[in-house]
C-alpha cells in the first residue's frame, strides 16, 4: 500500500496519455461486451435448448407444414412424454419494424413442454377461456407497454388483414437467456380464421421421458412417417438451433472476426503505450534500482500499473456494455436475446487481468533486466 503514491504519481504524469490508455481499454472491453451480447443473441436457441426436447419438422423445409394428425401418432411412440406444436404466424404490430415472433400454439400442451416459461395460474386460466387470448413474453410486453386486458391488433403478413388479440397473460423465464419476446396464441383461432392450410401445423415439439431416449425417439418418428406425403426430420432442439445458427453463421463470423481484430489491435496499441511510457522513465527506474529497489519489486510495480489501467478501463467498458444490453434488443427484434451472461462477464474480467498483465509483463521484463550502469550512462 505504501507504494500507492508511486502509482498515483505515474498516472498523473501525462494526463492525456492516461486518459487515452484508459479509453483504449474502455473501448476494447465495451466492444467485447457488445460482441458477447451479439454472440448470445445468435446462440440463444442453442443455449436454452432442452436436452430432452425434439423438433419435428417437414423433411423438405421448416417452412413446409405437417399434418395435425401426426400429433396422436407421435404421442404413441415409446419414450414420448409430451407432444405439442406451433405454427409461424408472421405478422407485425402497427409497423413492420415492430417485429417479434408470433406463434399459434397448442395452448393446452405448449407450456407443459416449455416448462421454463412461467405463467401466473389465474392469467393462464383467463387465456384458456378466451379464444382470442394471447400470452406475451415479459420483454415484448415491457417494450410496447402492453398490459393485461389490452387489445392488440396484429397485421398478418401471410394471412392478410388485422387480427385482434386480448392480452391475458405475460410469461417470464427461469434463466436470463430464456426468450421472453414471443407472442403466443391459440392454434384453434388460427385454424378458424385462416382461409387455407387448415389441418396443418408448422412443427412439433416432442418431450421425451429422458435425454437418453432422444436419439431413438427421433429415429422412430422419422421412420414412422417415411414414404408418406409429409416426411419428417427430427432433431434434438439443440441440433435444430445449431442448424439455424449455421444458416446465419457467416454473418456471425464476420461480426465476431472484425470485432476480435479491433479488440486485439486496441490492446496491442495499449501495450505499446505502456512500453513507451516506461521507456521514457528508464533513467528514473535506474535511480530507483540504485537506491535499492530490487528487480522483482520494480517488475511488480510495473505490472501493477498496467493492471490498474486495464482493470479501471476494462471494467468500466464491460459495465457500460452491460448497461447498454439492459435496454434490450437494439435492433428492434433481430436479436431478441441481447444480453451478457455472468459467465461472459467472468470471461471478460479474466481477459482484463490477462491482457493487463501481459501488456505490462513485457515492459516490466525490460525493467527487470535493466542494468543500472547502462541506464545511467555511467560507464
Amino acid at each position: 500500500m505504501k507504494f500507492l503514491f508511486f502509482l498515483k504519481a505515474n498516472i498523473k504524469r501525462k494526463k492525456i496519455r492516461t486518459f487515452l490508455t484508459l479509453g483504449s481499454y474502455f473501448a476494447a472491453f465495451l466492444l467485447f461486451g457488445l460482441l458477447a451480447a451479439i454472440k448470445s443473441a445468435f446462440h440463444q436457441g442453442v443455449d436454452v435448448a432442452g436436452a430432452n426436447r425434439l423438433i419435428v419438422s417437414n423433411k423438405t423445409s421448416i417452412i413446409m407444414p405437417l399434418p395435425l394428425s401426426y400429433k396422436e401418432k407421435i404421442a404413441e411412440i415409446h419414450g414420448v412424454k409430451n407432444v405439442t406444436f406451433a405454427s409461424w404466424f408472421g405478422g407485425y404490430y402497427k409497423d413492420p419494424k415492430n417485429f417479434f415472433a408470433q406463434l399459434a400454439v397448442d395452448s393446452e400442451t405448449y407450456f407443459d413442454v416449455y416448462k421454463e416459461f412461467k405463467v401466473d395460474k389465474n392469467q393462464f386460466l383467463d387465456f384458456m377461456k378466451d379464444r382470442q387470448g394471447c400470452v406475451i413474453g415479459k420483454k415484448t410486453a415491457e417494450k410496447y407497454g402492453f398490459k393485461i386486458g389490452d387489445r392488440i391488433p396484429i397485421i398478418a403478413s401471410i394471412w392478410g388483414g388485422v387480427w385482434e388479440f386480448n392480452l391475458r397473460a405475460i410469461y417470464t423465464g427461469t434463466k436470463e437467456e430464456d426468450d421472453l419476446t414471443q407472442f403466443l396464441f391459440h392454434a384453434s383461432y388460427l385454424e378458424e380464421r385462416r382461409p387455407w392450410g387448415k389441418g396443418m401445423v408448422g412443427w412439433y415439439i416432442v418431450e421425451t421421458n429422458n435425454p437418453d431416449l432422444a436419439y431413438s425417439v427421433s429415429k422412430e418418428i422419422d421412420r414412422k412417417f417415411s414414404n408418406s406425403s409429409y416426411e419428417t426430420k427430427s432433431d434434438t432442439e439443440k441440433a435444430f438451433a445449431l442448424g439455424f445458427v449455421k444458416q446465419i453463421g457467416n454473418i456471425e463470423l464476420i461480426i465476431l472476426s472484425i470485432g476480435a481484430i479491433v479488440f486485439t489491435t486496441l490492446l496491442l496499441v495499449t501495450s505499446n503505450t505502456m512500453e513507451m511510457s516506461l521507456r521514457e522513465r528508464t533513467g528514473e527506474i535506474a535511480v530507483l534500482k540504485t537506491i535499492g529497489f530490487s528487480d522483482k519489486l520494480l517488475y511488480f510495480l510495473t505490472v501493477s500499473e498496467s493492471l490498474f489501467y486495464s482493470l479501471l478501463g476494462g471494467l468500466l467498458g464491460i459495465f457500460t456494455a452491460k448497461l447498454f444490453t439492459l435496454k434490450g434488443d437494439p435492433t428492434g427484434g433481430f436479436l431478441p436475446a441481447f444480453y451478457i451472461s455472468s459467465s461472459q462477464i467472468a470471461l471478460g474480467v479474466l481477459l482484463i487481468i490477462v491482457f493487463g498483465f501481459f501488456s505490462g509483463a513485457l515492459p516490466a521484463y525490460r525493467v527487470y533486466k535493466l542494468k543500472i550502469v547502462d541506464a545511467l550512462g555511467r560507464i
Binding site: F5, V287, I291, G292, F293, S294, D295, V373
Partner: protein, 238 residues
C-alpha cells in the same frame, strides 16, 4: 586514515583489493581499473580526481555495488559485496549507501518530500516514523520549507539539497557523490559542498566524492588521484 597501498589493517570501513574492471567494446578491451587498492575509515571525506576516462565513476559504481569488478574484492563493514547476488546487492545498497548524482535525478512527478521518502519505502518504518526521518533530513539539508514543491519548481541547488536529503534519510554507512556540483553555478556549488562537509562532520558520515573541479575537491579531507586505473597517494588537506 585513507590508504591506497593495500596494506592497511582489517578495521577499515571500506577495503578494496586488487580491483580490476575491464569493459569490452566490440573486440577492444578497455582497462578502467588495474589492481586498485583502497582503504577508507569511517567518517572520512575523500575526493577522487583524475582526467576524463580515468575510471573515477567506474570506481564509484563498484564501491556502491552498482557494478561488479572483473577481478578483486570490496569489503564494506565486513561484508564482501563483490560476492553478493543482484538481489542481495539491492538490499545492501538500500541499507548502506546514499547516492548523490550530478543531475540530482529526482523523480519529477513526486514532491521533494515524496522523493526523500523513496528509500524509506524499502524499510519497515511506519508512516509516522518515516515522516520523522524525512523531516529531520529535510531540516538538516535546510530545504524543509520547500517540501511540497516539485523538482521543476526548485532551483538546481535546491534540487541537489533534496537529493542529499534523500541520500541521508535512511542513515546509510556512506555517501557516494558523483560530481555533485557539476551542474550548479559556483555559489550553489559552494553551498552544496558546505552542506556535505557539515554532514560529514555532524553525522560522522563517510563521503566518497568524484569531481573534476579542484576547488570542489578542497572541501574533502583527502584528495586521491586516479591515473591509469590505479589510485595514487594524494593530498591530505585536513
Amino acid at each position: 586514515m585513507v590508504n591506497v597501498n593495500g596494506k592497511s589493517d582489517a578495521t577499515s570501513l571500506i577495503r578494496a583489493r586488487n580491483l580490476e574492471k575491464i569493459y569490452t567494446r566490440g573486440e577492444e578491451e578497455i582497462h578502467c581499473l588495474s589492481g586498485l587498492n583502497l582503504d577508507v575509515e569511517k567518517g572520512e571525506f575523500i575526493a577522487f580526481m583524475g582526467p576524463s576516462g580515468s575510471g573515477k565513476t567506474t570506481l564509484l559504481n563498484l564501491l556502491g555495488g552498482l557494478d561488479k569488478p572483473t577481478k578483486g574484492s570490496i569489503v564494506v563493514n565486513d561484508i564482501e559485496i563483490t560476492s553478493l547476488s543482484e538481489n542481495m546487492l539491492a538490499q545492501w545498497r538500500a541499507k548502506n549507501v546514499g547516492f548523490v548524482f550530478q543531475m540530482y535525478n529526482l523523480l519529477p512527478v513526486l514532491t521533494a518530500y515524496q522523493n526523500v521518502e523513496i528509500p524509506l519505502l524499502l524499510t519497515s518504518l511506519n508512516k509516522k516514523e518515516r515522516d520523522e526521518h524525512i523531516t529531520a533530513a529535510l531540516e538538516l539539508t535546510n530545504i524543509i520549507d520547500r517540501k511540497d514543491y516539485y523538482p521543476s519548481q526548485l532551483s538546481g541547488g535546491q534540487q541537489q539539497r533534496v537529493s542529499i536529503a534523500r541520500a541521508i534519510v535512511s542513515n546509510p554507512l556512506f555517501l557516494l557523490c558523483d560530481e555533485p556540483t557539476g551542474d550548479l553555478d559556483r555559489k550553489s556549488g559552494d553551498e552544496v559542498m558546505t552542506l556535505l562537509k557539515n554532514l560529514s562532520k555532524q553525522l560522522n558520515m563517510t563521503v566518497l566524492m568524484v569531481t573534476h573541479d579542484p576547488k570542489t575537491a578542497e572541501a574533502a579531507d583527502t584528495i586521491l588521484h586516479l591515473e591509469k586505473g590505479v589510485l595514487i597517494e594524494g593530498k591530505v588537506l585536513k
